[in-house]
Amino acid sequence: MRKAGRMLVLLGVLVVVAGFATRRNPLLVVGVAGITTGLLGGLSPREVLAAFGTGFASSRSVTIFAITLPVIGLLERHGLQEQARHLIARFAGLTTGRFLALYLLLRQLTAALGLNSVFGQAQTVRPLAAPMAEGAAERSHGQLPDAVREKVRAYTASADNVGLFFGEDVFLAVGSILLITGFVNTTYHTHLEPLDLALWAVPTALCALFVHGWRLLRLDRTLEHARVAGPAAKGADK
């Protein structure tokens, strides 16, 4: 019976999965899942409220990118995205796929040097990389149907994420490496060197560069196909 009671905390996980699967508003899903799990896990309602408060307070750094929005908004008012499209149009050989593969490489290299916030979704993807990727696509394929434009933007976001995730672990002082050494060295009384962990991240980093780089290059073929087939070809590569 006690065992069954303890398993009940997994209901919170179920709430999350069911909520996202049925496309309810994620804020409500997460709020309900947090309250359910907390109460089932033996927290008092007060403690649940306090957990929401301290969780918010200690995770503010994920929202700090909002500070870049005024300058980016101002520049966009004065044609930053248009200029990014013009600039890319001058490099005839730089297709959308090649541009994004280059962005992936740069993102990975800078992250491997520990420069995680030099690039990012708010500071470089929205104002620069996404319009450039669209500009390159427009040069080769003319006006883009909305579905294709969305696809190009989504792939730009993906290049940023993949480059970050599989570049940062090659750097010694990144959070995940320090978490591993901290946890393993204190729990198992051993001594792991950050350098060893970083070296072990290199093979996967290379795989990520080749796999995602190849998929980005193939995006050019998808765009070509979409132009031939017209807007009806949405999702034709699936």
Partner: protein, 322 residues
């Protein structure tokens, strides 16, 4: 010393000013709810300083977070008509300023770079100039402020309200998704306090096959992947899966290389981050910032890569590490 909390106050202040602008914006049919949402967020940013110091109770902040979730979740937030330039004006400005427009945009990463590499090591009066451990976010914040100054001088824009209105429009367009990463971080903390990790470890140990090292590698990597999908990041998954499989089976029984098993296991978790809406700051917020109609667009673009890389990690670990 420049403290991280000062920047949180600045961000909170910006949210509060934008909330005031939203309240005054009669083109927004839900201006009261929208202003309340962003105003609470801004006030929460400032109040949090005393919560992290344990000088103020966390309960009121928790209640405010739940009110924000309800405001957005039940449709009380909306957006006004953006005060922006027409496409013709934008094209004319792009032609007039040309590549100079990139200067402020590139100032943000350039300053972030200088802070991360150079200013990090500077000391003044026996203290580091930038608070230790917060150099990255401070670099981004300082970069944004410097870039705004450069842009206003270059574009001869004297009113600070203009960039704030422009930024507010982006916030309104992106909407409540911006709160999701912080709410999810909270959920992760509640999950671990309530013992979700212990239950996952029990299930993992129960399904762990005896004798086959390769299958143990698969359970460890796939377990990292799945648990990361549920939690939104690999950090919560790592201690649980490592205590259940990674250390006792792969390192101790199979005599695998400890750094190899741990590093590749963590990267298997990162594959999970690529496919989960729970990693909202990487997957949901960009969809909103890029104004995609499909919120799962970035996840769909990353899905095949994530599965191929999960297989790569299983291969790398079983061939080289154990």
């Amino acid at each position: 010393m420049i403290r991280a909390e000062w920047f949180f106050w600045l961000v909170g202040g910006v949210f509060l000013v934008m909330a005031a602008q939203m309240l005054a914006d009669r083109t927004n049919p839900r201006r009261h709810g929208t202003a309340a949402f962003w105003g609470l967020l801004g006030a929460g940013f400032v109040y949090s300083t005393w919560v992290t110091d344990k000088k103020a109770p966390a309960e009121p902040l928790g209640a405010a977070v739940l009110v924000m979730a309800c405001l957005a979740g039940f449709g009380f937030t909306g957006r006004g008509t953006a005060r922006t330039a027409t496409p013709a004006q934008r094209a004319a400005d792009a032609a007039r300023f040309g590549n100079r427009l990139f200067v402020p945009a590139l100032t943000i990463p350039a300053v972030a770079l200088v802070c991360a590499v150079g200013v990090k090591r500077l000391h003044a009066g026996g203290e580091p100039v930038l608070e230790k451990g917060s150099e990255t976010i401070l670099g981004l914040g300082i970069g944004a402020v410097v870039a705004l100054a450069v842009a206003m001088v270059m574009l001869r824009e004297k009113r600070i309200s203009v960039p704030l209105h422009a930024g507010r429009s982006i916030l309104e367009t992106a909407g409540w998704v911006m709160l999701l990463p912080q709410l999810l971080a909270t959920l992760g903390a509640i999950f671990s306090v309530a013992g979700v990790g212990d239950q996952v470890r029990r299930i993992t140990t129960a399904v762990l096959p005896d004798g086959s090292v390769f299958l143990a590698v698969v359970v460890y990597c796939v377990g990292m992947f799945l648990f990361t999908v549920v939690m939104g990041n690999g950090f919560a998954a790592f201690p649980v899966m490592t205590a259940a499989v990674g250390w006792p089976v792969l390192v101790q029984q199979a005599h695998g290389s400890a750094p190899g098993v741990m590093a590749v296991g963590m990267l298997a978790g990162f594959c999970g981050t690529l496919v989960t809406p729970m990693a909202a700051n990487y997957n949901m917020v960009p969809a909103a910032l890029l104004e995609l109609t499909d919120r799962y667009g970035p996840i769909k673009a990353q899905l095949p890569t994530a599965f191929i890389l999960l297989a790569c990690n299983i291969g790398i670990m079983s061939v080289f590490a154990v």
